[in-house]
Amino acid sequence: MKKNRILAAAAAAAFATLAPLPALADITIGVSISLTGPTSALGIPTQKGIALWPKEIGGEKLNVIVLDDATDTTKGVQNTRKLITEDKVDVVVGSVTTPVAVAMADVCAEGKTVQLMLSPANLPPGKDGWSFRMPQSTAVMAIPIVEQWKKLGVKTYGFLGYSDGYGEAWLKDIAPLAEKAGIKLVDTERFARSDTSVTGQALKLVAANPDAILVAASGSGAAMPHKGLVERGYAKAKIYQTHGAATMDLIRVGGADVEGSFVSSGPAVVAEKLPDSNASKALGVQFKNQFEAANGKGSANQFAAHAFDVVLVLQKAVPIALKKGKPGTPEFRTALKDAFETMGRTPVSQGVLNWTAADHFGYTPETGVMLKVVSGDWQVVP
């Protein structure tokens, strides 16, 4: 009796492990993103974007496994190991959270599997051999802001950013660009998303009276500091927001106080308003129509767009890699990495990518778009 039960359990276990194993020659993508925890605001729209992935790529059937890393580095690493060793995925996608994505990079390099990061994580040289970024680096997104400042004759600026990696990355990337343009940083202040007020920081920044203030925050968290600055009498038209804030949530929460302010953004969220010459326009419009048909009007944001772009780069790279090996083999995985590094200029909905062996960020300077909030909607600043 007891033996039978053990046998049954063993059989069940065997089936359980067999079930997710794909048939040979299917392309398997393993996704590990933050569906719960503090950065779920980024992970949830990404998941909705993944739900719209096609059934096949390059004539091969596509299997997708989505796991939740709970915004936890340990969980992210566990997921990645599972995806690589048990599910034998061809590509790892994720995470949307920078520290988690960084930790996953090591595991992917070890398993010689390409990682398509959904976060603009900076990795030390030599560590990102198998990791490619889907979002733009902050350095690329800082370009349109500094260009705009040059155009308007801005001489000084203040910085109000998250006291975390996102804020740091922005400060680190915009400071040299601005310095080269002769624009001086007069005050640096920090805050946290869960803070109840930024009165102290706003008072100090407004007293320093810079020609512009950059707020480095994301989603609806970017609205509170913005309102704080306006409340202390700072001009709305002199406040700049980063691409992390380029969602309708900023306008929803910020209301009248964000009117006339500037936001640096990837092209996808405003695709239909871009000039026809923009390489991302057609793809961006396609993404928006597809995503909003499934999730409702005004739901498209940059995180879902990155998920859309994953398919675009795979559609270009997979046919190249298929010539060298079958999916599910180490040859295919290596070929895929080589294909990414050599496929050249690739327009996606979020800009124009050009990955090389040395540059795994790859967005070209033409990527960023400057937006202005006009009557509760985005307007592209030419």
Binding site: T36, P38, S40, A41, I44, S163, E189, R190, F191, A192, R193, S194, D195, T196, S197, V198, T199, G200, Q201, L203, K204, A207, G219, S220, G221, A223, M224, D249, V253
Partner: protein, 347 residues
Amino acid sequence: MDLSTAGILLLDGVTNGAVYGLLALATVLVFAVTRVIFIPQGEFVAYGALTLALLQLGKVPGTIWLLLALAAVAALLDLADAVRRGLPAAAMARGLVRTLAAPVVVAAVTWWAAPLKLHLLAQSMLTLAIVTLLGPLVYRLAYQRLADASVLVLLIVSVGVHFALTGLGLVFFGAEGYRNPSFWDARFSAGALTLSGQTIFIFVASIALIVGLWLFFGRTLRGKALRATAVNRLGARLMGISTSGAGKLSFGLAAFIGALSGLLIGPTTTIFYDSGFLIGLKGFVAAIFGGLASYPAAALGALLVGVLESFSSFYASAFKEVIVFTLIIPVLLWRSFQHGHDDEEEQ
């Protein structure tokens, strides 16, 4: 720094301090009566602010499903208890009605009223009712059976309840934050100081609540029963005071205070499903000032935390939280030197 800057910072600090003060009072109250260090206090703040935000959008807030689910489970447990003790059917029915009536009525009213987009004040009342009813149910399900466990066990349960409520908050409200409309849009200026209507509202509500609590504890039988339970649980029980009833009442009050704080703070900042934790933690730091026992000391501590936070965000914004939470160490040192070790429950 000139005087006007200092004035603005002070006002900002006292405003936030008033809200922390309410949470500190709730923390002290819950600890005194039940010995629970109630970490999820802040979750009620987020639940309050976000339930109102969803009502504002004309949606049915997910909190009512939680309310119904908790009430149903509590009713089942009560029923099982009653069957085991062999109570007559009439008593069982009375118990069931007592547990289920209020949650079902409040949920039904919310279900009916949500799409109507009632006046802000009516929606606020509804929000208070929903969140307040959650309090006793949380006590019933998570703590009542463990009422005699050690403080440490209760603390661990609190951590679990905190994670559960935060996770449910994500399901109910989504990951993005909301900002509620102000209760009173007026603005008054005196020199460089601008006093918004909401700030006045916060002060008035805080003072009213403190006076209300004082009257409740000093003048009413139920309040006195709570105080008696806080002083000596066993003694109170011998006098015929139900300790589980006192626990439920104190959790109800804590939930009410949390929800009220959420309504007060909702218009001044963006509230996320997980914002409550940090706000509640600052209330906890303030409560430590009173050694989790003294209400006036906790209220003073809250004002100090608020003002310290406001000034440190001006001088060293990157280290603001560090400064606020480091405050707890000298306070603990001072308290332990002053009082020595008097952990009565270990004896």
